[in-house]
Structures are given as structure tokens and as C-alpha cells.
Amino acid sequence: MKKRITQLVLCIALIIALVLTTACSTSSGSKSAEGDKSSTTTAPKTTKEPITITIFGVPTTVPETDPIIPELEARLGIDIIIESTGGDESLLVSRLAGGDIPDVFRVTTVSNLSSYYRDGVLLNLKDYMDEMPNVRDMFTEQQWARVTFDGGIYGIPRRPEENYNCWYIRNDWLKKLNKEDPSTFDELMEVAIAMNEADLDGNGKNDTYAISGTYGRAVSTFGRGAFEGFWTAYGVTNPETIMIKDNKAVLAVTLPEFRLATEEINRFVKAGVVDPEIPANNGDTLLEKMATGKAGICYGAWCNYSKIEQIERLTSVFPDAEWVPKRNQITTSYGVSGATKSASGNDAVYAINADLVDQPEKLDAILNMFNYFASDECDLLLSFGIEGMHYKIDSNGTIVKLDKMNELTYGWGIQFLGRPDMLYCMTKFDNCAEYIKYCATEIPIYYHYGQLVKQPEGINVPDIESYILEQVSQFIYGTRSMDEWDKFIDTLYKAYSIQTYVDAANETLTELGYIK
């Protein structure tokens, strides 16, 4: 009997021991953060082992077949460990809160960057700028200002992307209806009603809503929203964003123009030409609606209408469907419809662990790495891949895409400092070149600044944003009457204290030089 018990106990102890040892062996065997600490301290003794640098927060998973990172490692003589998070900031938050600070990490918003700065996690790069002249010269003063806190520089910005968004319209439907590309809201209304009534999808049912898109938090590859065209035509940005009007920071929703724009949308909704479930749409459902002829005017990015695979999808039901950017911008006395854009560009910023001051060798390697990222040679590698494999350079010196470049769908994640966007997109998506150029150069841009503003004490910015988005959607769809608009703005001031937020924005934007 006793034997049995001891056997059992031994068995259980064995299992637990087994689990624990596998745990320890795998964690020490792998190249975890702890692993490289020990390697760097022993490195100087004998043969120089390459320094290992962990880059955390890369938004794509780099596949096992990737040739670019190995090439980069070879060129720099270092080991790079890419830790991808899918762009989920909460993973970085737990990682940092756990006291486990990666060497280099990607922070998705400037406001979070300032929190990490406050906690003393970030390395002040000011004194190291001379060691990375390429990086120093790559960005403008205003771009540097975003990552500057109390005179120190705490992050490396990313080159902003060009504008991708504009109104897209079914050109073949316009032709069928014998209509001109509208340039005022009245004309737009006329076209939309015609599209609704003509039953162009030919299913004998009155189920077309000319105008569709997405709204609010459903950020997708389709861009920010169905109503961006309406708001910008009245000179305002998305409702929950901070914009600069008359040299003062304001919340877009509080402007009288915003109310006018919303009334305009409301008019379209009442006419029955706006998809009633825009807030519930996401990329998939919207694509299905567009492909099946349920919508004719959508706001979005060129990549969703003009990339080869998207064209295939959009023409699968109606082979002559032709989605083109709307060439005439809608104009009102307040503005011209265009696109909104965050003044902070692409928000993501790379930051360096402050503790690395104690490991000068590793820090040198990291600075050197970033300096290399900012060089033309590295730009070619990270943007276009390896010469001869992904691209070639023809006799005129222009970059020509080879078939293999299409496999680099994850490439944007490892373009650490961004890319020469126009050149990049026009090379990679050569069939869309015309539209890329159009969106980037001919669409008026309206900037918003909210992401630059640090959340003031006691104010809950996400609450403000979700309240505004929720209420505006109700005003748009008429579940709340426009007569109550003033009451809504009043609530914003009283219950949500937006004045404090706007004051903070004024202060920050003056500091950054956006307000003079």
C-alpha cells in the first residue's frame, strides 16, 4: 500500500518537475530578453558574438521565408529579433508594466509615448543625435517636436504616408444614367436618387442605397468613413477630432459648420439614399455590398478599389462595374470636400529602452542600426526587397517590380522609419499609379491634431470620443432630432468637460508651433 502511495507521489512530482524544467530550459534556451543580457556581458571576453537587438511591437508577423531581415542582419553584423504584436498596444503596456522593457519598441500613439516618458522608460536621444546623422536629417523640425518632451527627444518618428482616400463612384452607372460627375450636394442628391431608383443591379428590388461606407471605430482598409466627404466639404474634420480653426484648437463637433454638414447628411438620409447600417459595416460587408451593386458612391482608399485583386472582386458579379475616384470635388461656401489626416502622420514611433545607457556597445549598435535605416541603401531594401529577387533597376535608374515583390505583403511592418510612399506605392501597385497620384496630390487635406494632445488629468478622452460618435450617428440617422443639437453640445461641455481638453490642446499645439 505504502509503495503505491509513494509511487503516485513520485509520479505527480515528476510531472510537475518535468513541466517546470521544460519551462526553464525553453526560456533560457530561447533568445529571450534575459538571454541577451548575459550574452552582452560575456561578449567582450573572447570571440565577438554578434549583438542581439530585440525590436518589439512590429505590426506584422514576419514569415519564416523572409529574406529581408537576414539580409539586414548580414549587412549590419547584428542579430535582430522581431517580436510582432499585430499592432496591439495593450501587449506593449503589459510588457512594460511587467518591467520587461524591450531594446527597441514601437509605440502606436504619441499620447502613450508621453506616458512612457513620464515613467522614465524612454532613452533621451538628444545627446546621441550626432551618432545618427541620417535620422537627424530625415525628419522636419515639426516631426521631431512630436517626440520632444521637456527638451529631450524620446522617439524616432516615421515618415508620413500620402493621402489615400477620396470619394469613389460607379462610373458605368453614371454613364448609364447619363449624369455628370456631381460637384454640389444638390447634384449629388440627384445622382444618388437616380441610382436608387434605376434598379441598376437589376434584381427587381428596391434595395440599393447609393451612398455607403463605414463609420467610427470600424477603421478598415476602406478608410475612416462614409461621411468624411460631407464633413470636409463644410471645412471640418471628423466629429471627435481636434482641428485648428482661426488659429485656435477646437473640437470639430462644436463648430457651427459641423452642424450644417450633419444637417446635410440628414437630408440625404431622409431621401433614402444612405445605407442605413453604415455604423455596422466593416470591410467585408462593405465589399460585399459594393460587389453586389447595393451601393454606388463610397468613400475610401484607392487600395480598396483599384488594386488588382480588389478589381477582380468588385467586378465578379457585374463584369462592367467600374469604380473610379470622383474627379469633381463637392464644393460648398465653407470648403471643398477632401480627406482628413492626422497631423502626426502615421502615429507609430520607435523608442529605445532607457536602461541601455549601461550597455554602451549595444546602444551603439542600435543607433547605428537606425542610422542605417535612414540611408537610401536601406530604404531600397526595406521598401522593395532584394535587388534581382524582388526588383531590378533599369537603364534609366527607375525601379522595376519583379513578380516576387507581390509576396512582400508583410513588408510595411518592417519599414521601421516609413518609406518614400509615392514612389513605393506607384512601383508596387503599378496599375493604380494614376489614382495614387490623384489621391496624393489633388485631394484637399484637412488636418486634425487630437493624437498629439496628452490627456489632461481627470478627463477621459476615449469617453468623449465615443459619446460624440454615438450621438452624431443618432443625429445623422434621425433617431435624435437635430433640434436637440444645442443640448448635445451643452452636455459635452458640462458632463464631459471638453473645455479642459480643448484648453490642453491649445497649449500643446502652441508649444508645437501649429498655433502661432
Binding site: T109, N112, D207, K294, Q455
Partner: protein, 314 residues
């Protein structure tokens, strides 16, 4: 140990079998006990500390300064204009899921048990269990196929019958029912498993005796099956009450949108927006503790009530 020794001494003879079995019990409890201590209790301690401090990454948990007043983060949550709506939405969704979900799962388990066509029983059992494995993203996609106002099946049908459509996906009240309904669809088969297991633990002789006595099948259910599993039902009910403020983050995060915030925005989605996407650890810990306190009150109350039926967790 001390007590037992005293007890054995009283008998003037050491009760070796008793001591031996207590030793065995301790051995059995040991691995779990250690696990609980490290992975369940330590984090609670950490969370309590973090929630009353202004957490600073560099200073760590112990070094971070205390928030002033210490309940600052709790106050921030409770004073949010969203607090009451969030609490209400969370409660309504979670309660409906619980009060509909448990009876449905019990009914399904009983139906399966009553079924005497073995093949049908197995097939239905497997089928009802499968939706548990679908991601919410996919279920949302299927909801669109059914309920969309522009190209959904049901609205297509309504349009040709009545000429009008129902805004299933954007009307706050209707959408809340869709949230609850899809959850029931997804989880009922899965939760029925536990009741099935309970039913198969009932002594078969009881059924035979009832059959001999000529009891009707419904009577058998009422007098044998249900009493046989009532303690498992009560147990799941009590345990479910302990998580009453978890209304299903995964589902709602995928499915909700601005036009239905008023009914389906829940505490967890709020915390995710404020505490995680924007870095505010102390706040999320404070809300977590708030939820725990509510669970605690709930579970104690429900347990007291269920004691009257002779069922209790402790």
C-alpha cells in the same frame, strides 16, 4: 494537524488511519495549493496594490507613489458619465445570457437524455456543440447574411412581403437581442455537456423503478432527472453569478458599433478603450476590483438563497 493530534490523544490512542488519510489529503492538495498561491493569489495582491497607486513602470509596484486620495481611480470610474449605463448594459446582457442560457442548456440535456434513437442523439449532440468553435468575427459575418438591412435574407423576405425593413443591426434594442441570441446559439450545446454528465451520474436503478411503477416520462423527468442534477444546476448558477459583470468582451468587441453603444457597451469594452489603448493600468486594476466586489456580493447572496433548498457552495 494540531487538532487531530489532540483528538487522537483524547482517545488515548493515536488514530493512525485518520492521520494517514489527512496526510494523503494534504499531499493531494499540495500541488493545487501552491499553484493557487502563486498564479491566482499573488496577482490579486498585485492588482490591489496597483489600483491604489499611480503606477509607474520604472518605480515598480512597491516603489510607485500612492494615489491621492487612494480611491482616485475608483472615483474616476464611478464618476464617469458612462458608469450607470455601463453597469446597466452589463447587467442586462449578462443576466439574460445566464437566466436564458442555463434553462436552455438543461432542457437540451434532458431532451438528449430522453431521446432513444441513439444515432440521432449523438448527431444532435455533436451538432449543438460545434458552434462553440466559431470565432465571433465569423458569427458577425453570418449575422449580416441573415439580418442586414440591405442584403440580408430576412429583410429581403420582409421587403417582398411587407415593403418595409427592420434595422436589426443598428437599432439598439433589437441589436441587444441579437447579441444575446447569438451567444445562446453559440454556447447552449456546450454548456449542456455538464448537465449531460450529471444526468449520466444518476443511478439507473431509479429509472427502472419508476418504469416498473408506471410513471410517465414527464413525471420521471420531474421526480428523478431534475432532482438528480439540481445541485449541479445550482452550482453553475452560483458560479455564473460570480462572473455577473463579465458580459462577454470577445463577442461585444467584435460586434458592437457606435449606433448601438447605448445598449451594448459594457464595462469591459469601456476598460479596453480607456485603460489599455490609452495607457492607464491603475484604472483597469481598479475596475477589475470593483467587478470582484460586485461578484462577491452576488455570490454570497445567491448562496444564501440557495441554502434554503439545501444547496450551498460551502
Amino acid at each position: 494537524m494540531y487538532l487531530s493530534i489532540k483528538k487522537s490523544l483524547k482517545k488515548k490512542r493515536i488514530d493512525w488511519p485518520y492521520l494517514r488519510s489527512q496526510g494523503a489529503f494534504l499531499l493531494m492538495l499540495l500541488p493545487g495549493f501552491v499553484f493557487y498561491l502563486i498564479y491566482l493569489y499573488l496577482p490579486i495582491g498585485v492588482a490591489v496594490l496597483v489600483s491604489v497607486k499611480n503606477y509607474n513602470i520604472k518605480a515598480g509596484i512597491l516603489g510607485s507613489p500612492f494615489a491621492s486620495p487612494w480611491y482616485k481611480h475608483f472615483k474616476f470610474f464611478i464618476q464617469s458619465p458612462y458608469f450607470w449605463p455601463l453597469l446597466r448594459n452589463t447587467m442586462v446582457i449578462s443576466m439574460s445570457k445566464m437566466l436564458l442560457g442555463i434553462p436552455l442548456a438543461v432542457i437540451l440535456a434532458i431532451l438528449l437524455n430522453e431521446c432513444r434513437v441513439n444515432r440521432l442523439k449523438r448527431i444532435v449532440q455533436t451538432l449543438t456543440y460545434m458552434p462553440h468553435f466559431l470565432s465571433w468575427v465569423v458569427i458577425y459575418g453570418m449575422c449580416f447574411v441573415l439580418f442586414s438591412e440591405t442584403n440580408g435574407l430576412i429583410n429581403d423576405w420582409l421587403r417582398s412581403l411587407t415593403g418595409s425593413t427592420v434595422p436589426f443591426m443598428t437599432n439598439p434594442k433589437i441589436f441587444r437581442n441579437i447579441v444575446i441570441g447569438t451567444d445562446l446559439w453559440k454556447s447552449t450545446g456546450w454548456s449542456a455537456i455538464i448537465y449531460l454528465a450529471a444526468i449520466s451520474n444518476i443511478d439507473p436503478q431509479l429509472y427502472e423503478a419508476a418504469y416498473m411503477d408506471g410513471a410517465s416520462r414527464l413525471k420521471t423527468i420531474w421526480h428523478i432527472t431534475l432532482p438528480g442534477i439540481i445541485n449541479v444546476i445550482v452550482l453553475t448558477l452560483i458560479l455564473r453569478c460570480g462572473t455577473i459583470l463579465n458580459a462577454g468582451f470577445d463577442q461585444i468587441y467584435v460586434m458592437y458599433n457606435e449606433s448601438v453603444y447605448s445598449t451594448v457597451d459594457i464595462i469591459d469594452t469601456w476598460v479596453f478603450r480607456t485603460g489599455f489603448q490609452n495607457y492607464n493600468l491603475s484604472l483597469s486594476s481598479a475596475v477589475g476590483l470593483f467587478k470582484s466586489v460586485v461578484s462577491f456580493v452576488m455570490i454570497v447572496t445567491v448562496n444564501q438563497i440557495s441554502k434554503r433548498w439545501g444547496e450551498s457552495l460551502w
